[in-house]
Every structure is written in C-alpha cells, then in structure tokens.
C-alpha cells in the first residue's frame, strides 16, 4: 500500500494479529470475569469507567489517530446524553430507541458543527470546537424549560429498560456497559488496523503529504470526527440511561478536558490507552480523596509527574520501549 510509507509511528514489520487480538479479547475476558469477583463498589465504579472509557476511546479516534485536538468533545457526549434523556422524559422512548437517538444526535452534531470546525486546523480547531461546545452548553441553559438547565433531571425509571431488563440493576448495567465497551474497543482496534486508520495516521503525521498522495483529507477527517462523536454520543446516551441523570455539568468545558486527559494519560494513539487512563484517573481521585481533602493537589502533581516521566502516556511509553507491536 502506498500510504503505509507515510506511517511513521508503526514499525514496518506486519503486526502479529493473533497476539493483538489475544490481548484485547483477553482484556474483555478479564472485565467479564471481574463482574463475578469485584466488591460492589468497584463493580459499580467499573461500570461507569467502562462507559466513560468509550467517551475517551471516541476522543482518541479524533485526537490520537487523526491528530484533531478538539476541546469541545463534551458537546458530543452531551448530545447523546440529552437526546436520550429528553426523548425518555418527553416522548416515552425507552432505552434501545433512546440510545440510538442519542448516537444519531451526536453524529448529527459532528456532521454540522464538526464539519464547520474542520474547515480550520491546529489551534483554530481547538478554539472553534471549544466555542461550539460552549454554545451547546449555553443552549442547554437557554432551553431550561425542558432541560432544567444546571439542575438537570432524572431519567424516568420506566424508560431505563433494555429488552425487558432493568438497566438500574447492577448486573444488567455492568453487562450493558461491557457490551458497549467491547464494541468501542474492538471498533477502535479494527479502525486502527484498517486502511482508513492508516490514512488517518498518515494525515496526522503529515497532512500535506497525504493530500499530495491524493487523499481527500477533509473527508477523512470528517469521517474520523463523526466516528469519534458517535462513540462519545454512545457513551453519553449510555451514561444517562444507566445512571439515570442528565445535567448540564456534563456539557461543561471540564468534560471536554477529561477525555483529553484520560487519553494523554493512557497513551494517545493506542487502543487500550484511553481505558487505562480512565481507570487510573478515577482511582487516583477516588483513593486520594479518601485520604486527603487536597486530592486535587495530588491529582495535579501526578499529572505533572506523568507527563515528565511518561510523556507519551503510559501505553505510548510502553509501546516505545517494550512492545512495539502494541496497536
């Protein structure tokens, strides 16, 4: 393939497919097994982490693989969250429908606002996405009659049903989160190893060169951003339906920064990195907040230390030093 010459960050040798598949399926198997052994608190937390990791994986598609540093991914998450929540609240549309509507809403936001934002690049892209996300945040407030603004609303229990199963039930919730997580993880993996993924990496590494090679860079980026938004929106919709709450804080700038943080921590451009980053960040906050009220201080210092000593994120550094085949 001609574009593979543009891929600078993966080794020339063919990656060992069996090993890669084994690793990722192994992770999923471990997560499945953990369902039976984890204490309740960690069981609940892991359900939530898996959903948020989908958000991070979506972000990774845009940032890690395509080099699109967005500061507005909260709008995609919020689009999924609110679409699913609002149709549950006002149209009595329950989980499977609400979830799909949420995903569609996120894709729609990507295909409109995202398509406009992609007319820019670099820092301008950061700001435009930031601004769009801020506008979405304010729009949620503006339509406070329906969204209840900052307070948000509780998703009716009766709508939190999937194929007759109660999504508020811990087992159902865990398995639903795991299913979504598995879909996003394997989707990311497939994408990273597909032609599309390679073209995206080529664009990330050298956009002009990719263009010169005849690729329609804009279309590829829009595809990447839309897929990214779909995952983020799926995470948002799932979050609302699984945990029963929809609120504007999930559309705030913080929730655009979190996935960036999770991805950078775990390793941008690695398939498992976003999940690792999400897990570590959750437990970092959780454990330090139990020990000290100054947990933000600890979180801050850990971030600084990580970036000093693991500049490519944990899995990025691991790949660089020990496991060059890691996707």
């Amino acid at each position: 393939m001609s574009e593979s010459t543009a891929v600078l960050s993966t080794p020339p040798a063919a990656p060992p497919t069996a090993r890669i598949l084994g690793l990722h399926l192994g992770v999923l198997a471990v997560l499945f097994a953990l369902h039976f052994v984890l204490p309740d608190y960690h069981h609940i937390s892991l359900s939530r982490i898996m959903v948020l990791a989908c958000f991070a994986m979506g972000y990774n598609l845009a940032f890690g693989y395509s080099g699109l540093l967005s500061l507005g991914h909260a709008m995609f998450f919020a689009a999924g969250l609110y679409a699913a929540g609002l149709v549950a609240q006002f149209a009595d549309i329950a989980a499977p429908g609400g979830f799909l509507i949420g995903v569609a809403a996120a894709a729609l936001v990507a295909l409109t606002l995202g398509a406009i934002a992609l007319r820019t690049g670099g820092v301008s892209f950061m700001i435009v996405t930031l601004m769009f996300a801020q506008a979405v945040f304010l729009i949620i407030y503006y339509f406070g009659t329906y969204t209840r603004g900052d307070e948000g609303f509780v998703v009716p229990d009766a709508m939190r049903v999937l194929l007759g199963l109660d999504l508020a039930d811990p087992t159902v919730r865990y398995m639903t989160a795991l299913a979504l997580f598995a879909a996003c993880l394997m989707g990311s993996l497939a994408l990273a190893r597909s032609n599309l993924g390679r073209v995206l990496i080529a664009i990330r590494e050298n956009e002009d060169r990719a263009r010169m090679l005849g690729y329609d860079v804009y279309r590829y980026k829009l595809t990447a951003l839309t897929l990214s938004a779909v995952m983020a929106g799926a995470a948002g919709a799932a979050y609302g339906l699984l945990f029963g709450y929809v609120g504007a804080s999930f559309a705030s700038i913080q929730y655009s920064i979190y996935p960036l943080l999770w991805v950078l921590m775990g390793g941008a451009g690695t398939v498992l990195g976003p999940f690792l980053g999400t897990v570590l960040m959750f437990y970092l906050v959780d454990l330090t907040s139990a020990a000290t009220t100054a947990y933000l201080l600890v979180v801050g210092l850990v971030l600084i230390a990580l970036i000093l000593f693991f500049p490519k994120g944990i899995l990025g550094t691991v790949r660089e030093r020990y496991l060059p085949w890691l996707p």
Binding site: L69, A117, T120, G122, I127, M131, L296, I304
Partner: protein
Amino acid sequence: MDFGPYFLLASLEGAVGAAVLAVTALGLSLVFGVMRIVNVAHGEFFMLGAVIAWWVASLIGIHPAVGFLAALVVSPLVVGSVAILAERTVLSRLHYDPEATIVATIGMLYVIQQAVLMTYGPEARPVQPPFDFRIQLPWFGYSAYKLFVILAAVVLLLAVWWGLTRTRLGLMMRATQIDRETARAFAIPVDRVYAGVFAVGAALAALGAVLVVPVQQAHYLMGHDPLLLSFITVIIGGLGSLRGTVLAAVIIGMSDGIISVFFSPTLAKIIATLAVAMVLVARPQGLFGERAP
C-alpha cells in the same frame, strides 16, 4: 432607559471588560507567540494575582490606595516568581512540547487551585478600590474606578509595547519568537528568555487581576473565564500578533457589552460565542495573523 444612554452604558462596560482582557490576554499571547505553548494555567495565574492582591491590601490596611498600589507591585512579582519556578522545574524539561505542556499546565491548574483553596479558603473576598468615587451621569451613575481601569490598562499596554520594541530583553524575545535556533546561534540565552517570557506572561495576568479585583472579588475559581476569554482573544487576534491580541480584546470586550443590549442575555452569549467560532472558520489565521498557524 432610552436607547442612547443604554448604549453608552453598555459601551462603557464593554470597554472595561476589554481593558482587563487586553492585559490578561497579552500575557497569554506572549507565551503563545514566543514559546509556542498553550498555558492552561494562565487563568490560575490571574486568580493568584487577585488573591495576592487581597492579601497585600488586607495586610497593609492603612488606606485602600496604599494597599492597591502595593498589590500592583507585589502581586505580579510573586506570580512571576511562581511562573519561573514552574517553567524551570516542569516546562523546560518537557522541551515545550505543545501537548505535554497542556497536560502539565492542567496539572498546575489543579495544584494552584487547591493550594489557594487550602490557604485562602472558598470565600469570595473584596478588595477596596483605591478611590471610591461615583460619577453621576444624567441617566445613571458610574464608578470612576472603572474608568481608571481603562486608563491603567492603556498605560500597561504601552509599557509592554515599549519593553518589547525598545529594550534589549524585548529584542531577544522577538528574536526567539521568530527563530529559536538562529537566536541561539546569536548567543541569545533562549532558556532564560523562555523563563522570562513565561514570568512576564503570568505577571500580566496578575496585573489584569489586580485591576479587576476591586470591581469583582478574589475567589479561587475565578480563573476559568479569563482563561477562556484570553484564549479566544489570542487566537482571534492571530497567533503571535500582539497588536492583533489587543485589537481582538477590544472587539470581544466591546461586543460582549453591546450585544447584551439587543438580545436576551443567555442568547447574547450564545450568539457571541458562535460569532467567535465563525470568525475563525472564515479566517483560521485569526483576524490579524499573517499566516495560517
């Protein structure tokens, strides 16, 4: 209120906002322009400036004007020192990699916020303006201090401009901005210039905060909006263009004041936010940038 006076009022408010924004954003613009990094902790330097201003003012406590003047000197010095420390211990070791810097400065943001929460506390505390004088116009009253803020900001901006164009340090900064390697070849201590720029950037944020704190209050979460606005201003103005930054600050500040006359407030914010985005889509290099970033 009639339209004319209302418009005047909104313009005055816009001008005050623009003045503070120009000073604060200029700090970010310097760092952005010379070092090519995004300092997410810029808003926290702003907040730190306000908190230190409160401390200085309440420690001195003779007359508000004395406290204010002392804060005007002490606050940027302290914040600048903190910035140098952060630059030397963290940023320089990251070799100013843009992405790594974002994470590191997010870390700094948390550290500074929490440190202030633990020492200063969660309350919003006011600093008395150096003079408390209200100008009564025929239609409404207006704080004389706010007009002073506009004036002070103009003086500060001129001082920065003079420093950059007329001093040796300014020359070194500009040389580093244009071409780091060549500057190094000409024996410019690039490392020290970087530390200096980072400190000056932070000090400008602190100065902006000292100016605004008699109007608002010092609060440990106050850094969020200035960061966002500065960020937007710098990009809209055009990366690395200080003149663009100042002009963008004026446009953004003024429009924030004036749009609120015509639309319901939250809708006005939405429109202003989308307008910024669309400006960038039309001109990705910013209004005054020379080339695409």
